[in-house]
Amino acid sequence: MLTPRITAINPIEVLRYLGGPLTDIPDALLQTVQQTATELQSTARPKAVWRIFSLDGTALLGTTLSLSGVDIQRHLTDCTKGVLMAATLGADVERLIMHAQVSDLSKALILDSCASAAIENICDNLEADLRTQVEADGFFLTDRFSPGYGDLPLALQSDFCTLLNTQRQIGLTVSQSNILIPRKSVTAILGISNHPRTTRSSGCQNCNLFETCQIRKSGTTCQAD
């Protein structure tokens, strides 16, 4: 049973989204992060939807969609099927952040970072559940690959959401500029193959924060593994 759920919001990961600190963290800050994470967990009503499609290369059979770019091709090599998934933290969290922005901007920032950590956690859990199911049937599941990674066009957000009927199923829409709304949401495709898959190597290139990471921009790394 695939239930979208938050199991852990790691304070260190939250601080990574905040741009630091990652060492010598003041106790007061750590406490605030933990309290905010707890508040978020009790407010959030995460939702997810997923579907399995048969693949012909990078074309999803039974649909009008074919995925372009070399990176997704590499990712889906030897995959006979693909799982399309979408997850969202929901509109309640969005409103909580908007409210906090007026009364306590610092808390709003921490909430926003907690929310980013939370949606990743939800996706990790969903992926783990899917992997268990897939492996029980004797197959193997790749990592998740989202529009915007590598050369997979961001414009595919719209197609992913249409195929999954996310608007009706989980209240997830895509704006004109391909922003998922509610903001703390993720869409991705995972490949199902007959052969074991190595997970993507870690490092800046494969991190979803690559474009926006302030730590990387300041010339260093977070050394996350």
Binding site: L105, D159, L163, R168, G171, T173, S175, I179
Partner: protein, 787 residues
């Protein structure tokens, strides 16, 4: 068959799913179902015919997402698709008395404030569809599968203002009785009934069994006919398939008849067999009409305030007599209003009064902006406080929910101007017991005026429970006997006329020492007389305490639970009247101590000049914090805390300057905006706080701001530094076009850009003058440009 007549007493059987039927007939995922009207009209007509044969009284045309947004790029216009789809349905229905509904789902883009679709843009998209539908001969309009009440309001207004067709509205809820956007069942009922729809209810998401508790709730809040169009149960999580049988589906709908529900159909996963089973099962059951007592109240989209007890109206969003507030309105400083609103919410207000009337400002626009800003962050229902018909219309139109309009009075011209607006938007209305002859002198006069207002309101179709009477609180030190007249009037209006009463109580004590004692006493007496909508300052704890006490004595606070919670653990919480001895302003800023900053500043103003405090204490303190941030000693949350603490100091200084009538201090104006298409604004708001604390006046245009608006504001406010923010690579082009537009306008100014995806190289490429890597750097740049 006349829809409006039929739904008053008989069954109306709708049809079942179209989408899943089309998929069964071969429609691929990703293909537009509506276009099948052109590529495979026979299949569409066949599905319609099968539902008619199964016994549907109404078939929904294949137009669910035939809107301008979804059809763009297909080569088909809205008018063409709608006309064709309705023609197909009409031809299928020929020779029968089955009616054809124009079926309209939500646009597919989320509305403001969470999304980028403006209310007026949504309205236009719905208007385009409904006018085509009426022209094409639809018998009625159905808005279904909506999850956002604001979206539904735009749709219903478009239909009401441009067609004369009956309107059925159904929304999709989750099992927790809320929609994805947090709308509740009573909020839907109160708002849509107020807008004048013909029937409302639920469709999709859930099966008949899951929807039943929602229906049980709905019948308590509306007298309108109710529509139920469930899915074929919940799909199997593993296969995504619906497994319920038509007979089981129909059996699960039987209990609804006991609630008097007569408009029924099926949604996803259903087929003609389901409708046939429904007709068979219900054919033997005569439609019931149980008497269910109705609850009433006002609401936002997510919160209903039921009017069955004392409900506190917060009065603080009002510029009368408040120089700082007036300044905020002139500067379009919505944050100031929001802070007032949140403080009142935290203090226990149930409803917020919103008054933005000030000579010299555009009240209708300000009212619309204020309503939109407040309802984005505060879930309390609002009371629109204005006598300007344009501002009244603006406030009620853009409000999401059922509002209160404050106010009308006994003057016929006012009643005839304002009451129609109140009726159109389904608001409740406050009537002041006075007229063109002046203020009433006796209780009797007040009661007569109340009756006159009630009669006029009912004449416009406004129900009695939505008419609130304000018997006018006059200043006791000027007209002592009027206090008793008002109290007697409240008693009589409550018990003889059976109406809710409202009073602004603060006025009673004007001019007397220890005002709060008289105010509190008057309040308690008025509550006993029947007052249930007191307008107060919720920040006055003594007043809120008095209300808490009354609620125990009246029985409203069952088992005194709320009272005990309020007082049992109360420590003598004395607000610090002076800051700890050794603390100075610089340290208070560095540590982010908000109230200490305010207190210290108040003390300092006794001996120092405001400018001196800003330039020699506050700004250097912030500079120091900024340096420590740059060197990595402290981080963003701490920087923000210091800035918000410094803001408290600034508020004290601003108020002080206003009291003394001096010129407000400003180092110059800066515009900040998140560019068109982008909705990320935390970074921009951090920059705003920092810049304000360096003494700049920030004009915050918000998010998703079109280039034209930036240029317009730059020119009209004569601003020479414009800051633009964008978080996505896809919205950086909007940043480039905004900069281009500014250059093209010829207005002399510099641009400053920031946002996580940007780099100095990118900034140069798009023609920006400055790139700020963080909030601190923005302040440095502002200093360089403006001084």
């Amino acid at each position: 068959m006349n829809v409006r007549e039929t739904i008053q007493s008989g069954y109306l059987f709708l049809d079942g799913a179209m989408g899943t039927q089309l998929q069964a007939a071969g429609l691929k995922l990703g293909e537009r179902p509506e276009l099948l009207c052109f590529t495979d009209p026979e299949t569409v007509t066949a599905i319609h015919r099968s539902y008619i044969a199964a016994g549907s009284n109404v078939i929904y045309a294949n137009t669910f997402q035939a809107n301008g947004h979804k059809l763009s790029g297909t080569g088909y216009s809205v008018s063409k698709v709608v006309t064709k789809a309705i023609a197909l349905a009409r031809s299928a229905a020929e020779g029968t008395d089955t009616m054809v509904a124009f079926d309209c789902g939500p646009i597919g883009k989320l509305l403001e404030p969470l999304g980028t679709l403006r209310f007026d843009e949504a309205y236009d998209l719905y208007r385009e569809m409904v006018t085509a539908a009426q022209e094409a001969g639809a018998d009625l309009i159905v808005f279904e599968t909506f999850t956002d009440l604001y979206d539904m309001k735009a749709a219903v207004l478009a239909a009401k203002e441009h067609t004369s067709l009956p309107i059925l509205c159904t929304m999709s809820f989750e099992e927790n009785r809320r929609t994805f956007t947090g709308c509740t069942v009573p909020a839907m009922a109160l708002t849509l009934e107020g807008l004048g729809v013909d029937a409302l209810g639920f469709n999709c998401s859930l099966g008949p069994e899951e929807i039943f508790p929602l229906a049980q709730e709905l019948v308590q809040w509306t007298s309108l006919p109710i529509v139920i169009k469930p899915n074929a149960g919940l799909p199997d999580p593993a296969t995504n398939l619906y497994t319920i049988t038509p007979e089981e589906f129909a059996r699960q709908l039987v209990p609804y008849t006991q609630l008097g529900i007569r408009i029924l159909g099926g949604c996803c996963g259903t087929s003609p067999g389901f409708i046939r089973a429904l007709r068979d099962q219900l054919g033997t059951i005569p439609p019931e009409a149980p008497t269910i007592s109705k609850r009433h109240g006002v609401c936002s989209a997510s919160q209903v305030v039921e009017l069955n007890g004392v409900r506190v109206l917060g009065e603080r969003i009002n510029p009368t007599g408040k120089k700082r507030f007036q300044q905020a309105l002139r500067e379009h400083d919505l944050d100031y209003l929001l802070n007032q609103g949140i403080a009142q919410q935290d203090a226990g207000a149930d409803i917020l009064d919103v008054n933005v009337g000030l000579p010299g400002i555009d009240e209708p626009t300000m009212m619309a902006d204020a309503v939109k800003a407040i309802q984005a962050v505060i879930p309390l229902p609002l009371q629109i406080d204005s006598t300007d018909p344009a501002a009244v219309e603006a406030g009620l139109r853009y409000y999401n929910g059922k509002a209160i309009l404050n106010s009308v009075n006994g003057k016929q011209e006012i009643l005839d101007t304002i009451l129609p607006i109140v009726k159109k938007y389904g608001a409740a209305v406050v009537g002041l017991t006075m007229d063109e002859t002046g203020l009433p002198q006796t209780a009797q006069q007040r009661v007569e005026l109340a009756q006159r207002i009630l009669t006029a309101a009912q004449g416009y179709g406004i129900p009695k429970e939505d008419v609130f009477i304000d018997c006018l609180t006059l200043t006791v030190s000027a007209q002592q006997e009027q206090a008793r007249e008002t109290l007697e009037a409240v008693h009589r209006v409550t018990h003889e006329l059976g109406l809710h009463t409202m009073l602004g109580i603060s006025n009673i004590s004007f001019g007397l020492p220890e005002r709060i004692r008289i105010t509190e006493s008057f309040l308690t007496q008025a509550l006993y007389c029947g007052l249930d909508l007191p307008i107060v300052n919720p920040n006055q704890r003594q007043i809120m305490d008095a209300i808490a006490c009354y609620r125990v004595l009246s029985g409203e606070d069952r088992d005194s639970a709320a009272y005990i919670h309020r007082f049992a653990n109360a420590e003598p919480a004395a607000a610090p009247t002076s800051a700890p001895a050794k603390l100075d302003l610089e340290t208070a800023v560095a540590k982010g101590l908000k109230s200490e900053c305010a207190l210290l500043t108040t003390q300092l103003l006794e001996t120092k000049d405001p400018l001196e405090i800003i330039n020699t204490l506050l700004i250097p303190a912030l500079d120091l914090v900024g340096k420590r941030y740059e060197s990595g000693e402290i981080f963003l949350p701490q920087l923000i805390n210091s800035a918000t603490a410094s803001s408290e100091a600034f508020e004290v200084i601003k108020a002080h300057i206003l009291e003394n009538g001096s010129e407000q201090f400003s180092k110059g104006k800066i515009i900040l905006a998140t560019v068109q298409g982008d909705i990320h604004d935390i970074g921009k708001n951090i920059v705003k706080v920092i810049l304000e604390n360096y003494g700049y006046q920030v004009i915050d245009l918000g998010r998703d701001v079109p280039p034209e608006k930036v240029v317009e504001t730059a020119v009209s406010e004569n601003v020479s530094l414009i800051g633009l923010s964008a978080l996505m690579t896809t919205t950086v082009p909007s940043m480039a076009s905004t900069i281009q537009a500014l250059h093209a306008s010829g207005h002399p100014c510099k641009t400053l850009v920031g946002g996580a995806v940007l780099t100095p190289e990118y900034a140069l490429e798009i023609g920006a003058d400055y790139y700020a890597k963080d909030a601190k750097q923005s302040a440095d740049i502002a200093k360089e440009v403006l001084g």
